[in-house]
């Protein structure tokens, strides 16, 4: 058990790296997608809708193959497995997160938007100072859920050769044929890595809702 653990531990940095980097990409790109999707102008809304729906409709593993073996292996561009995984998962989760953001933005009462308009607040300040702090309270719980889902989906990166936990478990099993032991430990590792996300999410949720009501 402890030898398995020490073998698989070699994959932890990749798993965490892919998860965190993809999450940052998703969290940043999801916001413009959400804002565009709420536009009153359909010509602005439509491209955002198409992008979000296409990203979510194609299986993640297909995206990773597509990015790594075609777009990422031309003469001009050569992506590492890590980069390909982060781009693919980052984009897919940007689509998921944009929907969570959209729900958060929709949860901010109309009167708040109107007040910022009546005060002629510039768009950036409107979002940064008024809208997002209130939307965040609604967005944090689903964000945490997506972070944990992303952690699990990061295992897909092993099929294009990213040396993560799952990759290590596959390698090890090819040598010792102890699939049960190796993948059980891999599973436990994923559970353990997910715990901090859940705790952080919970803490953030509590702090945010307190900030919103209390003084």
């Amino acid at each position: 058990m402890s030898t398995i653990l020490s073998e698989l531990a070699a994959g932890i940095p990749q798993t965490i790296g892919i998860t965190l980097a993809s999450f940052v990409v998703a969290a940043v790109l999801g916001l413009p997608l959400a804002v565009l999707r709420r536009s009153e102008v359909w010509l602005v809304r439509l491209p955002a809708v198409v992008v979000v729906e296409v990203l979510r409709a194609v299986p993640p593993i297909v995206w990773l193959f597509l990015i790594y073996y075609s777009l990422g292996s031309t003469d001009q561009v050569r992506l590492t497995t890590f980069q390909a995984a982060v781009i693919g998962l980052g984009l897919i989760y940007a689509a998921h997160l944009s929907e969570a953001y959209r729900a958060g933005l929709n949860a901010v009462p109309v009167g708040q938007w109107e007040a910022t308009r009546a005060l002629a607040l510039p768009r950036r300040q409107m979002y940064a100072r008024v809208i997002l702090p209130q939307a965040l309270v609604v967005v944090v719980p689903p964000m945490a859920t997506f972070a944990i889902a992303l952690l699990k989906d990061s295992a897909i990166a092993s099929v294009i050769g990213a040396t993560d936990i799952t990759f290590q478990a596959v390698q090890l099993t090819q040598q010792d044929l102890n699939g049960l032991g190796n993948f059980t430990v891999a599973g436990l590792l994923y559970i353990a890595l997910g715990v901090p996300f859940a705790l952080v999410a919970r803490g953030a949720d509590r702090v945010l809702s307190r900030r919103l009501v209390g003084s």
Binding site: P109, G111, Q112, E114, A115, R117, A118, L119, A120, L121, P122, Q125, R129, V130, P133, Q134, R211, L212, V213, G214, S215
Partner: protein, 249 residues
């Protein structure tokens, strides 16, 4: 026209429509500097729609809004210029719940007007003092009474140093007692010479504080007159019916 007689704010043939359904029809109204105009009328008359057309929260489907002789255009820049000069107070306050009273009041001076933080803080404290809430500066709206919240909202609008203040039923969400403190604040604003357009169901306020009362029904101005005159001696049957109904309630 010489500047003395030029109205501060002029609505000229303003219509408001929601999805091609017109609810305000061809309203023209001049507001002089320092004048307090009360807009009264039955529910659904289009009072809020008209008021919101003034600062383009509901862009007029037809007609012109003219502030200090300059017509408001549809561009973002023109709208921002208008909104800097026109303060708005909502029925439901619409304070920012995650910010303290002081932060609520400082926000737009800093980010819309570009006033320095220190100056904005001073300005905000002056306005909070003005509405009698200096000691609530560091409290969030959630901890304040409805009346206090509405006075913070008034301070927030005043901190922009607007030329006109719009009020949409500012006391309708409040108990009479809390409404009274808001009305007192508005009364003193009027006494200081602030130009105000006030949609209200408070007939006493309209009669005592307003210079002019405008009665609207079915999306049109039915009758307008000096406040005392319209309230005591309405000419139009529709106005008489409305005032009787309100008084007998």
């Amino acid at each position: 026209m010489n500047p003395e007689s030029r109205p501060l704010l002029a609505l000229d043939g303003v219509c408001v429509a929601y999805r091609h359904h017109e609810v305000v029809h061809d309203v023209s109204l001049d507001v002089a500097s320092g004048e307090v105009v009360a807009l009264i009328g039955p529910s659904g008359a289009g009072k809020s729609s008209l008021l919101r057309a003034i600062n383009f929260l509901e862009p007029p489907s037809k007609g012109r809004v003219v502030l200090e002789g300059a017509e408001v255009g549809g561009s973002r820049r023109s709208l921002d210029a208008l909104r800097r000069d026109v303060g708005m107070v909502f029925q439901s306050f619409n304070l920012f719940p995650h910010l303290t009273a002081l932060q609520n009041v400082m926000l737009a001076p800093v980010h819309t007007l570009g006033v320095s933080k220190e100056q904005a803080r001073e300005r905000a404290m002056r306005q909070l003092t003005h509405v009698g809430l200096a000691e609530h500066a560091h409290v969030k709206p959630g901890k304040c009474s409805g009346g206090q919240q509405q006075r913070i909202a008034i301070a927030r609008a005043l901190a922009m140093e607007p030329k006109v203040m719009l009020f949409d039923e500012p006391t309708s969400a409040l108990d009479p007692e809390l409404g009274a403190e808001v009305l007192a604040t508005m009364r003193s604003l009027a006494a200081e010479g602030m130009t105000m357009v006030v949609v209200t169901h408070e007939m006493h306020f309209a009669e005592d504080v307003a210079d002019r009362v405008v009665f609207m029904a079915d999306g049109r101005i039915v009758e307008q007159n000096a406040a005392g005159k319209l309230m005591r001696d309405p000419q139009h049957p529709r106005t008489q019916r409305f005032l009787n109904a309100v008084r007998n309630r």
